[in-house]
């Protein structure tokens, strides 16, 4: 073997103080100059393994070698000194500081003894920006720059600290399709310059496109290291979850009934004066799934906020089953049997320190069946939550367990169990499977289809093209706060065509779009 391993992790086991075994006897190696995928479901141990490589956690047993030398990565500083850099999924940036200040944080160039040499910081930023072809605005405040540029800053931050090996933790999770394409060009470019990258992702197509080899983890164990070109997506998903994941969702054609959700001419100008919703009109009928596709930040979030009373539009109306719901609070909206699977499950979906059970009943604490006088009827509550945990295959010790300790997929299952089980007439599902494992994704998608076929109206907002195309009966594409296109049938839609509407290259006529109102 003439090939050079820059990273070797041998027999790594990590047991957390609470007894959770996150990694068990994992072998992992990375060759110089490759892009190596690290794959696995949520909770498979990817993050833990990478945290140990970046010095944020220490292995319980096992050995880590960098460039063939055994090392003790006791802190990120030590890892950085060995040329390991990490681009975190949640950016490690300080929003009120400029790009240049963020770049030099912790290694600030000084002038006249003790002052910051800001010019030098800017020069350094621009030098690296040019050298690696990662364009950033050195003088802009990080709070003001787009997500794609924030990520470039993160990559540059690692490079400026001398990283030769970059760990990229789900780098595309926050990026638009276009930004992802840009990122891949940049990564290829880095690869050409001899840099090594570890690419953590769930997205099969991305892995197939950009990586050379991959390591698949399942349940904390390694399922082996493969050359990307030698395995098929089906094999990968089987290795990840131990069975064939049906990524295609089978569904009967919809038989839409009467109109449930009726949105007309919704307009919203945000606090910075940007028009986020521009005369948005749509209808969702019983028994159908209407998908909303689009690059994030084109009004989808604002639309959902309006529908669920988190924000008030400047004009327009929202009716559910004929009744105006604008101006109602969330409790009143829920009383009308409208459910929401929120985009940010940790913030709006759950109370992380409460138990699974408490989270399950949080929308129905006033239900007669769950109360006995002024106290809860605990036996009834246990019965209900045990049933939901079983029905929705939430992987946990018991329903009394703190929900924050579950994996993302299982947390989302709890959210979905609550939202789907309260006899809804309308379900608003906002990014229902973002960042969760393949198994949970499949489960939630199937459930959504099943519910819609039983006569519930579903509005599905998703940045995942596959998801909206697979699940939706009909779909709209949002761009710049407007509906750019409406497709009555999603079956023979192509990615390219959707891309054109998503990026605003094409726009349907008002008449074509108006069809979504079913008038």
């Amino acid at each position: 073997m003439g090939e050079e391993f820059v990273i070797q992790m041998k027999g790594i086991t990590k047991v957390y103080p609470n007894g959770t075994v996150a990694n068990q006897d994992v072998n992992f190696d990375v060759k110089k100059g490759e892009i190596h995928a690290l794959m696995g479901e949520n909770g498979a141990g990817k993050s833990t393994l990478m945290k140990m490589l970046f010095g944020l956690e220490q292995p319980t047993s096992g050995e880590i070698l960098v460039n063939g030398e055994p090392v003790n990565l006791s802190s990120p500083t030590v890892a950085i000194s060995h040329g390991i850099g990490m681009v975190h999924q949640h950016f490690m940036l300080v929003p009120s500081l400029t790009v240049a200040e963020n770049m030099v944080l912790g290694m600030v160039p000084k002038k006249s003894g003790m002052l910051i040499d800001y010019k030098k910081a800017v020069a350094l930023t621009e030098e690296y920006s040019k050298k690696f072809n990662l364009p950033v605005e050195a003088n802009a405040r990080v709070a003001d720059i787009p997500v794609g540029m924030k990520q470039k800053v993160e990559i540059l931050k690692a490079l400026v600290r001398g990283a030769k090996i970059l760990i990229l933790d789900e780098p595309t999770a926050v990026l638009t399709t276009q930004e992802t394409a840009e990122l891949f060009v940049e990564l290829e470019n880095l690869k050409k310059q001899g840099y090594t990258m570890i690419f953590i992702s769930h997205k099969l197509n991305e892995i197939m496109e950009i990586t050379d080899r991959m390591t698949i983890l399942r349940g904390g164990r390694s399922m082996g290291i493969y050359n990307t070109k030698d395995v098929t997506p089906e094999e990968i998903s089987r290795l990840m979850v131990g069975r064939d994941v049906v990524l295609k969702v089978e569904k009967e054609p919809a038989q839409p009934g009467e109109e449930v959700l009726r949105v007309r001419d919704l307009e919203y100008i945000n606090e910075w004066g940007k028009k986020m919703l521009d005369k948005v009109s749509l209808s969702v009928r019983k028994g159908e799934i209407l998908g909303i596709a689009g690059v994030e930040g084109n009004g989808q979030k604002e639309l959902v906020d309006m529908l669920f009373g988190f924000n008030t539009p400047n004009a327009g109306s929202v009716k559910v089953s004929g009744e105006e719901i604008l101006g109602l609070n969330q409790r009143e909206i829920r009383e009308r049997h409208i459910s929401l699977v929120p985009e940010d499950r940790m913030l709006y979906g759950i109370a992380a320190t409460a138990s699974i059970e408490e989270n399950l009943i949080s929308d129905r604490t006033a239900n007669k069946e769950l109360n006995k006088g002024i106290l809860f009827n605990m036996s009834e509550i246990h019965k209900m939550s045990d049933q939901l945990v079983k029905d929705y295959t939430v992987l946990c010790k018991s329903a009394g367990q703190t929900i924050g300790s579950l994996s993302g997929g299982n947390i989302q299952k709890v959210v979905v169990a609550r939202e789907f089980s309260n006899d809804p007439v309308l379900i608003i599902a906002d990014q229902p499977t973002r960042g969760i494992d393949v198994g949970a994704t499949e489960f939630i998608r199937k459930k959504l289809v099943e519910l819609s076929r039983s006569g519930i109206a579903v509005l599905l907002v998703s940045a995942d093209l596959n998801e909206v195309m697979e699940l939706s009966d009909s779909l709209i594409i949002m761009c710049g706060g407007r509906i750019a296109a409406y497709f009555e049938d999603t079956r023979d839609l192509s990615d390219e065509l959707m891309g054109k509407y998503m990026l605003g290259i094409e726009q349907q006529t008002p008449e074509e779009i108006r069809r979504v109102c079913h008038e």
Partner: protein, 309 residues
């Protein structure tokens, strides 16, 4: 009666000085993500030891240094509880404040044998005033600006130094980044704990200077409850000033103005019980005006941008 005499403005600056010290402590603290609610208690303890230190050594300078050292020590103790032992920093600050009021009284009794004041033994040991040549000769203005204590000039100088510290030095950059996103700071090797200790330590020293001013210039020695809420007013000034040094300094001056006004009015024979709440009422009014103004600005931005569309 003319209220706005040179004397009146002079007293605004004098009264604002201790608040300004504590305000700068609050500004730096908030930038570093350390809400130091214990400023009041730290000022109290420093006031006592400043005064005693001057008495023991017959030197106001050593008294001042002792006050600063006590402020630093107390803030570090607070930091140890809050950062290392992970107690709630608000509760830790409250404890410091309680020690400040009760502990001082106890210490005075033990150390001096006197009750509730050290004025009898320390009255002659004051921080000196400076009469500034040339400036003192300017009519009106000279009377306002010249003749303050050394510490007053230092306090206003510190406003500028705080700006330099926060925005021009690597330490300031670290303080701000730790305050805003500690994970980001630690991920690039900045020791969050160290920066937090430095942040709270600087605050302790500043509050210590404020305390020294109280017992060694504002009043003749330490007496019970002499800080009278200035540590809390400083927190309000910090917030009113938007967390920025200059804005917070102006807010501190508004409090000085309110207090000076109160004193002036009571001098005209109005019942002092009626006058006493004036500073606090001004605080509330100022906060309301500030909030309304912010809201209006926000709205204006919103609608003007909308009009452009």
């Amino acid at each position: 009666m003319n209220i706005f005499t040179a004397d009146f403005f002079f007293s605004i600056i004098r009264i604002a000085t201790p608040i300004l010290f504590a305000t700068l402590a609050a500004v730096i603290g908030e930038k570093g993500g350390v809400s130091n609610i214990g400023l009041e208690g730290i000022m109290m303890m420093s006031a006592l030891f400043g005064s005693l230190g001057a008495y023991w050594t017959k030197s106001w300078l050593i008294g001042l240094l002792l006050a600063m050292a006590v402020g630093l020590l107390e803030s570090l103790v607070m930091g140890f509880f809050a950062f290392n032992l992970k107690t709630n920093i608000i509760l830790t600050g409250t404890a410091i404040n309680m020690i400040g009021s009760g502990g001082c009284l106890f210490l005075v009794k033990v150390i001096t044998g006197q009750a509730s004041t050290t004025a009898l033994i320390t009255k002659s040991l004051q921080i000196p005033s400076i009469s500034i040549p040339l400036i003192r000769d300017i009519p009106y203005i000279g009377k306002i600006i010249s003749g303050h204590s050394v510490l007053t000039y230092i306090a206003f100088l510190l406003v500028w130094l705080t700006i330099v510290l926060l925005y021009k030095t690597p330490l300031g950059l670290n303080i701000r980044s730790v305050g805003e996103n500690p994970n980001a700071a630690s991920s690039v090797g900045v020791s969050v704990l160290k920066i937090q200790y430095i942040t709270i330590g600087i605050g302790g020293i500043l509050a210590g200077m404020g305390g020294a001013f109280m017992s060694m210039y504002y009043a003749m020695g330490w007496s019970q409850d002499m800080v009278a809420g200035r540590g809390f007013i400083a927190l309000a000034a910090q917030s009113m000033g938007g967390g920025e040094p200059v804005g917070s300094m102006l807010a501190a001056l508004i409090f000085g103005f309110a207090s000076a006004l109160g004193i002036k009015i009571s001098a005209t024979g109005v019942d002092s019980n009626l006058v006493a709440p004036i500073p606090y009422i001004v605080t509330i009014i100022a906060l309301v005006i500030f909030a309304l103004n912010e809201k209006r600005k926000e709205k204006q931005r919103h609608s003007s941008a909308a009009l452009q569309k």
